[in-house]
């Protein structure tokens, strides 16, 4: 699964740290999600969706091998 969290974050002009604080996780977690090392839970995905004001499908995309 790939994601465009970095782009969405840039649109809102947020640093990793600021985004992490907004949704109540560590900067490490945001970094791990952006670099595809960690797939977030539904809860966290929905928090991101609320913050970005977009459906989850807009910034998380399934790949052929998923």
């Amino acid at each position: 699964m790939k994601n465009t969290i970095k782009v969405e974050r840039a649109i809102l002009n947020l640093t990793q740290d600021e985004l992490a604080q907004e949704i109540g996780v560590s900067r490490q977690t945001i970094n791990s999600i952006e670099t595809n090392r960690y797939v977030p839970s539904t809860l966290l995905s929905l928090k991101l969706s609320k913050l970005f004001n977009k459906p989850v499908n807009d910034f998380f995309k399934l790949e052929d091998n998923d």
Binding site: G24, V25, S26, Q28, T29, S32, R37, Y38, L44
Partner: protein, 149 residues
């Protein structure tokens, strides 16, 4: 009380038990206990006398210190940390079982080669197994955290 309410209360209690962790400041207490007891164990090696009871107590304090470090929260304990903890626990469990199976065999073979007259097959003690499991867990968790930094 309704059956559903009893089930909910049971579920809450179970969740509390499964997710139980000490506050972050306990980590320092754990390290302090661990360092102190470990240093005292080393110290007894240089002193004359029978310290078997004291060493036995100190070993338990060492394990307690390690356990406190293991179950203390990180500064920010979020779902990534839960995930990494799970991975570190499963890794340490598997390595621990392999260690318990293989280490006595290695000990025996080393004795056979170096001191054949003293060669005896002995299983590991509880302290050695628990110490190994906790240390492997902490190392794996530290490595995974570093990888995700």
């Amino acid at each position: 009380m309704k059956k559903s309410k009893i089930c909910d209360a049971e579920e809450l209690r179970l969740q509390w038990l499964v997710n139980f962790k000490l506050p972050n400041y306990w980590k320092k207490i754990g390290w302090a206990l661990l360092s102190l007891s470990f240093a005292l164990i080393i110290l007894t090696k240089f002193l004359d006398g029978d310290f078997s009871v004291i060493i036995s107590i100190l070993k338990k304090i060492t394990l307690l210190g390690l356990l406190i470090v293991v179950i203390s929260k990180e500064k920010i304990e979020d779902e990534l940390m839960e995930n990494l903890r799970g991975k570190a626990f499963s890794f340490s469990f598997i390595i621990g079982v392999v260690y318990v199976l293989v280490q006595p065999l290695i000990n025996y073979l080393v004795f056979v080669i170096l001191k054949p007259q003293k060669a005896r097959f002995e299983d590991l003690g509880d302290f050695q197994i628990l110490w190994f499991l906790l240390i492997v867990y902490l190392t794996a968790f530290w490595f995974l955290k570093r990888r995700n930094a």
